[in-house]
């Protein structure tokens, strides 16, 4: 889950990581703002500045009109529900710092660059340190960071920053925490001018305080082609991908990826059917279930319910195998619904239904 800038900066402040003074403007509430101020559209994408979503306001007469304009400005498909009103800062240098997970080594790493403020993707030559818990690791990395940035008089501040970034990263179950730019102000203070933060959805169970604007993305249902002619329902991300691959390899057009998940029940599967029939050109639904934790009889009950509840349900090519297959087969056969032995058979049948 990716946080908005103001949400991320609130977290930074809780971990004593310095940020510019700021207030949040919503459509219902505009706080008292002292000028000059930078108004920043709170959308979960980069490139806000170029799109006109970050505006410096100096005159009182421009405040209301600028706020109205930012609220209606569409940036890469997003319109903000909040605007961050931030104190302007006098920038001496712009640096880059991020903390992230190296998946290959299963370690937490600090990445830095002397050239901040620009798009990271265009940069090369990052300096990388592995960081660990405790003051010793932070002190050592902070000292080397000060040397790398050529800011020896900021050594203590950078040591604190490294320690607090690490505490914040681990304490918040973050998967990415990027400060770009990290600004050195004219009066020699380090401030996090912008922040990108991603949290691990899996850890939500231990963070009752997570009440963010953006709802988690649905990863189990993904549209691939709205005009596709074959819909797919499978369990497990791998089997769902393999089902899509087999449809495509046979020359048909897969409309969606759908993983009904390990603990799928009749209701959740029925919901999936409803999503699929919303696509305009579906000619066949391929259902490919290989049950381990999932139980085939639950899937069978959902198929029977879908046939009863959804009018004009496209023809089904069903393959069920694994846990409780026998119970499922007897449920389906009592409703005169036939099943096929393999994914290969489902693909062959689907082609017959569409092209013959």
């Amino acid at each position: 889950m990716r946080l908005l800038e103001y949400e991320a900066k609130t977290i930074l402040r809780n971990y004593s990581i310095p940020t510019p003074d700021a207030l949040v403007i919503t459509k219902r509430f505009t706080p008292e703002i002292s000028l000059p101020v930078v108004l920043k559209s709170q959308v979960p994408v980069g490139g806000r500045g170029k799109a006109g979503g970050v505006v410096k306001v100096e005159s009182p007469s421009e405040v209301t009109s600028t706020i109205d304009r930012i609220f209606t400005l569409d940036i890469k498909g997003y319109k903000p529900t909040a605007i961050l009103a931030e104190q302007t800062i006098d920038i001496k240098r712009e640096l880059y710092i991020a903390i992230l997970i190296n998946l290959e080594t299963a370690t937490i790493q600090l990445m830095a660059h002397t050239n901040g403020g620009v798009e990271v993707e265009t940069q090369t030559g990052f300096k990388v340190w592995t960081v660990e818990t405790g003051r010793a690791s932070a002190n050592q990395t902070g000292e080397q960071l000060a040397e790398y940035y050529e800011l020896p008089d900021q050594t203590f501040a950078l040591q604190d920053l490294v320690e607090n970034l690490y505490k914040c990263f681990v304490g918040c179950d973050a998967t990415l925490l990027e400060i770009n730019p990290l600004v050195l102000t004219d009066d020699n203070k380090l401030l996090s001018a912008d922040c990108k933060m991603e949290l691990d959805d899996m850890a939500a169970f231990r963070h009752p305080e997570w009440k963010f604007e953006k709802t988690p993305v649905n990863t189990s249902f993904v549209e691939l082609d709205n005009n596709g002619n074959v819909a797919t329902i499978a369990n497990g991300a791998g089997l769902a991908m393999a089902t899509v691959d087999a449809v495509a390899a046979a020359g048909m057009v897969p409309a969606n990826f759908l993983d009904i998940g390990g603990g799928a029940n009749t209701d959740s599967i029925l919901l999936a059917f409803n999503k699929i029939v919303a696509f305009p050109n579906i000619q066949v639904i391929v259902i490919n279930i290989f049950a381990g934790i999932t139980r085939c009889d639950e899937v069978a009950k959902a198929i029977i319910a879908a046939r009863q509840k959804i009018k004009d349900l496209p023809p089904l090519c069903i393959r069920l195998a694994g846990t409780n297959f026998e119970e499922a087969a007897s449920l389906l056969s009592s409703e005169n619904i036939s099943t096929l032995a393999t994914l290969d058979d489902c693909i062959t049948k689907a082609k017959e239904l569409i092209y013959e």
Binding site: L103, I108, D200, M202, G236, A242, F257, A291, I293
Partner: protein
């Protein structure tokens, strides 16, 4: 990894009283796995499918040597359960649980690297040695004793590959699901090494996915060290960039994480590849 850790007998189930734990304890026992006990804090003295329940691993170890633990403990307590098994020096730990936070896996990897325990998973279906041992949730009837080694990141594709081979009368020595999470215990390379060094294994099936770089590491290992025939399929040829498909590991970050790029790497390393699983299985002889 040594073959002996998979054929060892005394198995326990952590989280034995839960829905999945009790269901799969019965199914493992029906397949012939020798389950000597299970844990569920506060529920010592109960029986699950005739298997005694203990509060902790230490209690079981007072009387019984434990070779293998299978973990069904829900995600919020899975980290503690894995650490308990590592601390108890259990040689093989198979974690079925899905949804374990990535920071928990970082802590666990640090402990694993310093221990002698082999961890398979998490978020995996476990291991089936057809005719020998079922450690996890792979339906036993899918296997047929034989000489193929299967390794897969995806649980359901593990079943799929095994069942298709069985239907064709091609038996398997190992069916291993290593799990779909971004940080996991044993890798493709660990399993390839096991298969290469086991004289009973005559051919290898590797099933990868989009996301991460473990298929590239596998390709390098195949090129350098594997002399047996390898058949490989990477799932997710139609995946859009930057969209997570199902579990956390299946996200296409960059071009080198794509199914096409990984398939090419595996092919260049000498593996027989296909862009769909039925096609791959047909090519196995």
């Amino acid at each position: 990894m040594n073959s002996n850790i998979f054929t060892a007998k005394n198995v326990i189930v952590q989280g034995i009283t839960g829905t999945h734990g009790s269901f799969h304890t019965a199914s493992m026992r029906a397949a012939g796995t020798y389950i000597v006990g299970g844990t569920s804090p506060g529920k010592a003295g109960l029986l699950v499918d005739g298997v005694p329940v203990y509060d902790s691993i230490v209690q079981i170890q007072k009387d019984i040597r434990i070779d293998i633990s299978v973990i069904f403990v829900p995600a919020p307590r899975a980290k503690d359960a894995i650490i308990e098994a590592i601390t108890a020096k259990i040689p093989l730990v198979v974690c079925i649980t899905e949804g374990i936070p990535i920071h928990d896996m970082i802590s666990i990897k640090h402990l694993i690297n310093k221990s002698s325990t082999v961890l398979i998973g998490p978020n995996c279906p476990g291991i089936l040695l057809p005719g020998n041992n079922k450690i996890g949730i792979i339906p036993a009837q899918m296997g047929l004793p034989g000489s193929v080694g299967i390794v897969s990141r995806s649980g359901t594709l593990t079943y799929e590959a095994a069942a298709e081979l069985t239907a064709r009368g091609i038996g398997q020595k190992y069916i291993i699901g290593i799990g779909g999470d971004r940080i996991r215990g044993a890798s493709f390379v660990d399993c390839l090494e096991l298969f290469q060094n086991d004289p009973d294994v005559t051919s290898i099936i590797l099933i990868g996915e989009i996301g991460g770089s473990s298929e590239h590491a596998a390709a390098t290992y195949i090129k350098d060290c594997v002399t047996k025939p390898v058949y490989a399929y990477v799932a997710g040829h139609s995946a859009p960039i930057g969209v997570q498909l199902g579990h956390a590991g299946a996200i296409l970050g960059g071009e080198d994480e794509s199914a096409a790029c990984k398939t090419k790497a595996l092919g260049s390393a000498g593996a027989t590849t296909s862009d769909n699983l039925p096609g791959l299985i047909r090519s196995v002889s």
